[in-house]
Subunit: 407 residues, 2 copies
């Protein structure tokens, strides 16, 4: 029995279902490890001692690489002073100033722990500011695991979602219909920074769609909320919608902001400052100083090393190599999304059987991918890592090519 299976057996006894949430191995392709022992740079080791080149990056948070020396130094220095104290440390102000300086729409910032805290707080602030209730969200978008937004209906009441109205991402006409349906009760339009629905092609927002969302504010006073939790700090330092030249009123960040330290942030403009000061947003660890020190170090280094440019280049190198391999083996690979934040799908693969087979073969060859979720590049990925990963994926394509119908 391997270490991983022994731990899974023990976990079955003391964790419902053996593991909760998005990290449950049962949700991944066969062979994906459940338990991890350590991580370094862009590599991770499972409890069986196998190492992987990691394109999950802990499902987003690891943006500089594990054990980045600058972030580690900032963490150690702040931890020697204090982390969870009776109030915030000066790092709170320094980090808020950094975000306000770096993100054009931001006049202020607030901090929390989960991406869900950040998206939920944006909605609460929008409702407080407008005195209205309706919230528009895109069909199939993920904004967290709280009752109002969880993709699961289990344990959730219909009232939790009573004021949600759905629209289609990148479809201005659908957005306009939803705005009309909300009428004079429209509090907020929530939109993912990019369209990154599970198991679907990823898309950047079109300029037309982003402008339509922005125009809805000017017409109604509702808040435009960009959920930048997954994409934030990988696409643009100023917030992902700088790519399309449209600025939100409120934005939610988490994941990559502190290179794996637990932190979320909300930024907003002055129209929503008063409301943000009136809502009650709090948590036992929300003022913790160590994650804020880590965030300052992370954002500073991302800028200094052009981390976004590097991730884009490494992601493109990986994409080009995979496309060449897929063509060579006649496998209908379909890559989409920005290269820093890609998704790999296969055409005519509705149940992801081919995707899972490919990921299982890649995992067996030391490369961690996912069959229907966004992948992530990090600054720690080098050309040599990408090329080593491509050697492994070449083998994975060859292994599955036999089972792909000729076309």
């Amino acid at each position: 029995m391997t270490n991983d299976s022994a731990l899974r057996d023990r976990a079955q006894r003391v964790i419902p279902g053996g593991m909760f949430g998005h990290l449950a191995a049962a949700r991944q392709a066969p062979g994906y490890p459940q338990f991890f022992e350590r991580a370094e740079g862009c590599r991770t080791w499972d409890v069986n001692g196998r190492s992987y080149i990691d394109f999950m990056c802990s499902w987003g948070p690891i943006v500089l690489g594990h054990h980045d020396p600058d972030v580690d130094a900032a963490v150690r220095a702040q931890d020697a002073l204090g982390d969870c104290m009776d109030g915030p440390s000066p790092r709170l102000v320094e980090l808020a100033e950094l975000l306000v300086a770096q993100i054009p729409h931001a006049d202020w910032a607030l901090f929390a722990k989960n991406g869900t805290d950040a998206t939920t707080s944006c909605v609460t602030i929008a409702r407080a500011a407008t005195g209205r209730r309706k919230v528009l969200v895109a069909r199939g978008a993920y904004h967290g695991a709280a009752p109002w937004c969880t993709p699961s209906q289990v344990g959730v009441t219909s009232e939790d979602r009573l004021h949600l109205i759905l629209y289609d991402y990148n479809d201005p006409a659908s957005l306009a219909e939803a705005v009309a349906l909300a009428g004079d009760d429209l509090a907020a339009i929530v939109v993912s920074a990019i369209r990154h629905d599970i198991g679907k092609r990823h898309e950047l927002p079109t300029v037309e769609f982003a402008r339509a969302a922005r125009a809805a504010y000017d017409a109604t006073g509702a808040a435009l909320i960009v959920d930048d939790v997954r994409a934030g700090f990988r696409l643009h330092e100023g917030g992902s919608w700088e790519l399309v030249g449209v600025r939100p009123d409120l934005a939610a960040y988490s994941k990559a902001i502190a290179n794996g330290q637990p932190l979320a942030a909300i930024t907003g403009n002055d129209r929503f400052r008063d409301a943000a000061s009136r809502v009650f947003l709090t948590g036992s660890f929300w003022a913790g100083a160590v994650p804020m020190a880590a965030a300052i170090a992370t954002l500073t280094k991302l800028h200094a090393v052009d981390g976004i440019g590097h991730m884009a280049a490494m992601g493109q190198r990986f994409r080009d190599g995979l496309n060449a391999q897929a063509r060579r083996y006649g496998v209908p690979l379909e890559q989409s999304g920005p290269p820093q934040l890609p998704i790999f799908l296969f055409r005519d693969d509705p149940d992801f059987a081919l995707g899972k087979a490919f990921c299982s073969e890649a995992v067996a060859r030391g490369v961690l991918l996912h069959h229907n979720h966004t992948l992530f590049l990090s600054v720690a990925h080098t050309e040599a890592d990408i090329d080593e990963a491509l050697d492994a994926t070449d083998g994975a394509f060859r292994a599955i090519a036999a089972g792909v119908p000729a076309r």
Copy 2:
């Protein structure tokens, strides 16, 4: 201008209202510092270089003392391996096993980041298990800052609370009325481990009340949820309701569980295991290994040193000393709650003017207290610390005695 005022000025520009949540200095007695520089054992230093004997313990999390060497060693060792990885580390299983071994009602555990995550997850699991909607909460109780439970109504819709029914803590008749009102739609009874409403006398649950809450399950199948976020691991290692011999179906923990590292836990019994495996509970950092390693070290040490007994003894020493001082100066101090988790109020002080004056005088003398919130003891508080704090409170009582009307 002091460092604290300079930081407050900077914060006013980039944080709505200057600070959010329960840590905002505007909510505390005048003189309470806003920004903290460092902390060690039961002492903390503000950014002006003033030190305090700390009876806030970071509003609960610090249970062994800041920079406890055993917890720090566990944090360093796990951090050298990995924290936020592609899946959990073995610490997840070890911590769940520890909780199941230590907490009699617990057959399983789940983990999150905020106390609010834990209480909300308990409610979701209860609704999933029962297929019902109504949730009973005590009037004035605090269960977190999510829309369904926040004490503020700002930005919250009436639907967020549509299925809440209120009862009075320690009042079995009121609870029975609420149960009857819920009828066949009762999903859960949520009850704080002790009654620790803000600005109110703290009370242990009566055995009669606790049994009535337990009996409601047997009659209806609804879940009995004990919110042990604030009191957990300071009153009883097996969960606070072991004190009254009543076992919940589900319980929520956070704060003290990892001595300041961000972590929350949910425990439950086998009747709710299947539902817990079906709800979607997740967050980017919920499987982080460092806080789990810290929790294992914290709970192990609390047991090894009889931390609860020590906190009770130190709290009692402080209480006895304060009572003697209050009598000597003719100040109508009213202490309540368990000595590890006390609250200090003054009779006939509806706006807390006297309490604030006392806390301000204490803060000026190097002791951090609160005028209307639960206080916390830690294992790091020694007899010498308590006696030093009592020297300071003697001065604080003397200073306010002049303004107290004779009776």
